[in-house]
């Protein structure tokens, strides 16, 4: 009987694939953009300028402290009121990128702060410029601290992307809602939706775990 129910869902297969594709594309674009922006913000956050640092801190707190659903509604429904027309896809990318950047900013900032002061002083004393200190000395060491939680954050963000279904984007979650109206067994539908997310996320979970082990080992070894 479960077989029959699966068969009744077989017709929805192309739609499901489209939904999965949307979820992957949306996640991929916003994670790449969010990572770049997040590193930039994290570097500025720990830079010397207090005003910039405080402004970024306030924005990050605001975004981390409000539901993503609310943020996405604000971007999709309020911005057009101000004359900025956005299609659902662009709104979704903006909202997810912003969310990703804010979480990644804090991860990167924590990594940068973990680098001992002596390292910065040594780089400073040898005449390296601000950017050279960051690029050659601070970031490579911060990455040890940053990488495991960064990949873990990717997993959370991919799952958060399901919220974009609320503004009508046909991602995996929305496909679930559409299909469930046509077939009797909603439980099975959402089981499959969940499975779809898991298939995307599981490799990342494994990667995060491996990175954590590797970085843990490196940490013991690289000791001053």
């Amino acid at each position: 009987m479960i077989w029959q129910q699966l068969q009744s869902l077989a017709g929805s297969y192309p739609l499901a694939l489209r939904g999965l594709g949307m979820t992957v594309v949306l996640s991929l674009i916003s994670l790449v953009l969010g990572t770049l922006l997040g590193f930039g913000l994290g570097i500025l956050r720990t830079g010397g300028n207090r005003l910039i640092s405080a402004a970024i801190g306030a924005w990050v707190d605001l975004i981390r402290g409000t539901p993503f659903l609310v943020q996405i509604f604000l971007i999709f429904f309020i911005l057009p009121e101000l004359g900025i027309e956005l299609d659902a896809f662009t709104a979704g990318i903006i909202a997810l990128t912003n969310l990703a950047a804010c979480f990644i900013c804090e991860i990167v900032a924590a990594g940068i702060r973990s680098v001992p002061t002596g390292q910065v002083e040594a780089a400073l004393a040898s005449g390296l410029s601000r950017w050279q200190r960051m690029r050659q000395v601070v970031l490579p060491q911060a990455m040890r601290i940053v990488l495991p939680p960064l990949v873990g954050q990717y997993v959370l963000l991919i799952k958060d992307s399901s919220v974009v279904s609320a503004i009508g984007l046909t991602d995996l979650t929305r496909v679930g809602w559409l299909v469930v109206q046509r077939v009797p067994n909603g439980l099975l539908v959402f089981f499959l939706v969940g499975l779809g997310y898991f298939i995307v996320c599981y490799p990342l979970i494994m990667l995060a775990r491996r990175l954590e082990q590797r970085m843990g080992a490196a940490h013991g070894e690289v000791q001053l």
Binding site: P116, A122, A125, Q141, V222
Partner: protein, 247 residues
């Protein structure tokens, strides 16, 4: 005071909050001179040399290094730092880079020396400090004494005019101290202008022209190492020396 040294402190003061860590410091170090700074912990000796390359900033007075006044908008601090080597108590080698990469990083990126040329010079410097076979080793694979010698080679790679040493042997096991001091003696004998915060009397007697004794942020006594270590003039320096020389 009209003559200008390589390093010139004139009435320098510095506070950490309410604490007056440098009190009216006036001190001039001539080119090729080696000055040893000693004193009890918290006396301000590390702060004194950290001011010279701007790791600490001064509150008032003048500090002129290599003809450039610190804190002056016309002084390019990053550029001035390339002329000043700084050796830290805790080495501060870059743990993610090999010994050679530690030595060549600044010459390649700051001095813009071609990589192959910088690596050639880096190997020679590491050989000079006795570490020809450790070129590709990471800091974690080196002993404290070896790390500190790499740190000295890293400074020399920039061909600085001045070298500052902040208790370079204090974090070392006793058997490694002499290998680092030997390298420092060699650097001094080549005519480097040096300020060394240390209590190593043997080193001071061998290469220093002057010993400066600091207490509570002020320079209390200054003289040749011979005079200072064998016949200190003030009660405070006598008390200090009797403590470090007792054993």
């Amino acid at each position: 005071m009209t003559k200008t040294g390589m390093i010139d402190f004139r009435g320098v003061n510095k506070w950490f909050g309410a604490l007056n860590v440098l009190r009216d410091i006036t001190l001039s170090v001539e080119p090729r001179e080696v000055v040893v700074v000693c004193g009890p912990s918290g006396s301000g000796k590390s702060t004194l040399i950290r001011c010279i390359n701007g790791l600490e900033t001064i509150r008032d007075g003048d500090l002129v290094v290599d003809g450039q006044r610190l804190g002056d908008p016309a002084t390019n601090m990053t550029r001035l730092r390339t002329e000043i080597g700084f050796v830290f108590q805790s080495f501060n080698l870059y743990p993610h880079k090999t010994a050679l990469e530690n030595v060549t990083l600044a010459p390649i990126h700051v001095r813009k020396i071609p990589r192959t040329e910088a690596e050639q010079a880096g190997r020679e410097l590491l050989a000079k400090v006795g570490l020809a076979d450790k070129v590709d080793a990471y800091p974690a694979q080196l002993s404290g004494g070896q790390q500190q010698r790499v740190a000295i080679a890293r400074c020399l790679g920039m061909r600085p005019k001045i070298m500052l040493f902040d208790e370079p042997t204090s974090a070392l096991d006793p058997e490694m101290i002499s290998e680092v001091l030997d390298v420092m003696v060699a650097v001094a004998e080549e005519g480097m202008t040096m300020m060394v915060v240390t209590h190593e009397m043997g080193f001071a007697r061998k290469v220093a022209q002057r010993a400066v004794f600091m207490d509570a942020g002020a320079i209390v006594e200054s003289g040749t190492p011979e005079e200072f270590f064998s016949a200190p003039k003030t009660d405070r320096s006598r008390a200090f020396l009797s403590k470090i020389l007792r054993h």
